[in-house]
Amino acid sequence: MSKKDLEIIIATDCGSTTTKAILIEKKGDTYRQTFRGEAPTTVEAPFEDVTKGVLNSITEVEELSGRKILDGEKIITPNSGNTGADIYVSTSSAGGGLQMMVAGAVKAMTGESAQRCALGAGAIVMDVLASNDGRADHEKIERIRQLRPDMMLLSGGTDGGTITHVVELAQFLKAADPKPRLGAAYKLPVIYAGNNKAHAQIKEILGDRTALIITENLRPTLERENLMPARHKIHDIFLEHVMQQAPGYPRLMKMVGAPIMPTPAAVGTMTEKFAKANNFNVLAVDIGGATTDVFSVFSGVFNRTVSANLGMSYSISNVMAEAGLANILRWLPFDVEEQDLRNRLKNKMIRPTTIPQTVDDLQIEHAVAREALRLAFEQHKSLAVGLKGVQQERSISDAFEQTSSGASLINVMKLDYVIGSGGILAHSPRRTQSMMMMIDAYQPEGITRMAVDSIFMMPHLGVLAQISEKAALDVFYNDCLVRLGTCLAPKGMAKDGQLILEWDAVGSDGKRQTGELRFGDILHVPMNSPKARLVAKPAKGFDMGAGPGNRVDAEIEGGVVGLVLDGRGRPFALSKEPGKRLDNLNKWYKAMGMYPV
């Protein structure tokens, strides 16, 4: 079937707890998401067949839409009248997703490239081994033995360079004799993407013990990363080995009309398509119960990180452990005993499906979410960097600007768009809560549009984009994104009450709004218009993106929240004085109308 014939599309995302199905229909020239259904995922006992959950979720779509999609356990294709669909696509993160271990000769060079390669393919990286990772050799071997990854990515050395380190890593791997997570009788798939001069030795060492796949070097020279060949191999092995061992997946693979993608890989694809189509720098985050995924596209460069133990239920206690109690407490506009907070968070960890019933409890979860988002963003910034180890030519003038190789690509002043997803951002009782959590966690500077993916449709659209980019983008703009609005945050510091910004916004509906922003304040200006022209005149020393004190003319978006003018300054820090901190928080939360009074 040619792409232009696609009229009815059914897509599922098999998550670790829920399988979500959506129906997409072509209405005139535009694709729209029309119905959705969900059912518990059935990967684990007693069902142990992922297709049961898939069929249940599609059955719900059938009931709601009145369209007959299933003939027994088969999807009817193509569509005809009120029956069938033209294609069925799916993503999956059930059963723990794709879990990998990566290795590189030097941690900051090939180790980091291998990590980026695996993360970009949608994997959870369990560990990064490197010759210089600070662990003794026997500790590395023990670590490989303990972990049971789905596959391993081994890299190291530039093409034609020394082979010693990568051969050493291969020997450690052989000595550890690791077993794959699924299917104890199978050999562990190992992708070798290192120095091409070592192919013979690697085959000799690992050829018998592992399912070895050799591909192009992911770091052929220090100046160049070549991640795609290894990434394709990861996807191939994901489908050929890992999915074949997971309960019911061989059947699911026969049902789909395009290869199944790991859920994060599909979200990454959609983020890239959106960034490219609009020429935006984009940050997308999915904060779940166990993990937080962060995706970014800056100057066309895509990066993904997954913080495996930062989440709002299973991992909530780990957020406390990593952020520290003080960092959680600082966001609460009331006092709470440390012991009480500790017990509450642990109780959420052991009963992860409970929900806040009171406003206080909700505010505690929002405080934790800010820290989880912040920590995951910090981790992302440290990996979304330029290549390290690259030789740089420096002139005399460079001596005054000490930039080093490996600087972070993330620049919050140049960030155009933030997309949030995951229960805490998508389903907060008030949208102002979602927007403020993201503003507090990311501290965007200048002009930043914000949205949430209300029902986490990005995975479905990412896998669909492989077949029809138009269908994916149509649904993304019209049905997936809930536009929150735009954050205006002048960069700089001043005294409380000092005028720092004059602004003037004219919506596409012709409505004009103007005002001033003073340091230490937050202003909330409702604005529903999807587009608006903004003129922002920052005070001397304050930057809105065109340099300190310079006027900015820009296109912005309104939304369900509207404009948030954040006058708390950048870098933003809460007052160390408890009374003032509480007063400020109460003032800001009131200005945003965040919680019931």
Binding site: I163, A290, N347, I350, R351, Q357
Partner: protein, 374 residues
């Protein structure tokens, strides 16, 4: 009749349960089909490959990796003692002689002429698997282990730390809402499973460890005490491998929470009998809760039910509220309104009405209760 799916913790006077006792890698099965086994009997065992250590012989002898073949005293597969020479040079002048000793006892696994590295493996370690519960072998998985079936009292906790253990049940408090204080732990509790009521403090747990108590079962503990006990914060609930000299099983949660009356009475009815206890908890994929298993029937029970969790909840069911502002409160389901209701946090949620002990009726999100399974 309205009903909703809500998983709960099992507290069953008697049920028939099976435990798979399998090795992580193939080995030898030591028990036969239909054999009666005791909880401490070894049912399977294997040899875990020893740890691997590396020695860079080329660096130590200051020669190229490809040259080490000439200097190796031991070859691949040879056994070596700790301190035994594995490679040495043979200089013209003895004064320049240099040798490389083995840092461990084991075998030479590989000698690499690319890296100049020699890998040595320690002797394998025996890994035995015990039956854990007293019962009958009902299935043998060749090379891996057995499945043991038993009838007995089965109680799940919500959280635990420490591995499998066993011992006599010893009730140490008078009621489920009494704290288990340090002075409640007596010398004759050594090797026993001590049952407390509402809460065990750090001092109580430390005293129990000192006196050699095998396990403590209690309604609640404070997270701060747990942190001090372990020396770190538990980030994700995957436990069971802590090595603190005791197994702790929490039946209700973190904080001061009386043990459910029904659980306390059931444990009291088995006072003095030998139980198997595990603190292993895993909340993600393949949920595992800590447990107490006491083989045999309580005196007042004549028939053992098959484990058949109903999986849903109906009016009249006893439930426990598991979130603030009513955390730990037990009540009876009055009704299950089907429509979404706006709760205090302004979220729209499915709720249920619960009748409390004094007759008061409160509204609670369905996500915030668990059914008390009996």
């Amino acid at each position: 009749m309205a009903h909703a799916y809500t998983p709960g913790l099992k507290v069953m006077p008697c049920t028939r349960l099976t435990k798979k006792r399998l090795l992580p890698i193939p080995g030898k099965v030591m028990a036969a089909m239909d054999q009666q086994v005791d909880s401490l009997d070894i049912v399977a065992q294997t040899e875990l490959p020893g740890k691997v250590f590396s020695v860079n012989v080329a660096n130590r002898l200051s020669v190229g990796p490809a040259e080490i073949e000439a200097f190796m005293v031991k070859k691949e597969g040879d056994f070596v003692k700790k301190g035994e020479i594995i490679a040495e040079n043979k200089p013209f002048l003895k004064w320049f002689q240099n040798s490389v000793d083995s840092p461990v006892e084991g075998t030479v696994e590989t000698v690499s002429f690319v890296t100049g590295q020699v890998l040595l493996r320690e002797p394998p370690k025996i890994l035995p698997i015990k039956a854990y519960i007293k019962g009958k072998v009902v299935e043998v998985t060749p090379d891996f282990g057995v499945t043991v079936e038993a009838e007995g009292t089965f109680i799940q906790g919500i959280f635990g730390i420490g591995g499998e253990t066993n011992g006599e049940i010893a009730i140490a408090v008078g009621s489920p809402d009494e704290d288990l204080d340090p002075e409640d732990i007596k010398e004759n509790h050594k090797g026993k499973i001590v049952i407390g009521g509402k809460h065990a403090s750090l001092a109580t747990i430390k005293r129990a460890i000192e006196l050699g108590v095998h396990a403590i079962v209690v309604g609640g503990i404070h997270d701060r005490d747990l942190r001090q006990l372990l020396g770190y914060d538990i980030g994700v609930a995957v436990t069971g491998s802590e090595n603190i000299g005791i197994t702790i099983l929490v039946t209700e949660g973190f904080g001061l929470i009386p043990m459910a009356d029904y659980t306390f009475k059931l444990l009291s009815s088995r006072n003095g009998e030998v139980a198997s206890v595990s603190g292993a908890t895993q909340i993600r994929a393949g949920v595992m809760r800590p447990e107490i298993i006491i083989p045999g029937f309580p005196k007042n029970v004549t028939e053992c039910k098959r484990d058949q969790g109903r999986g849903w909840i109906e009016p009249g069911d006893p439930i426990r509220i598991i979130r603030e502002p009513h955390f730990g409160v037990i009540g009876i389901v009055k009704s299950l309104p089907p429509e979404l209701t706006v709760i205090g946090s302004e979220s729209h949620a499915r709720v249920l009405e619960v009748t409390l002990d004094g007759g008061e009726v409160i509204v609670v999100p369905r996500a915030n209760i668990e059914v008390l399974e009996k």
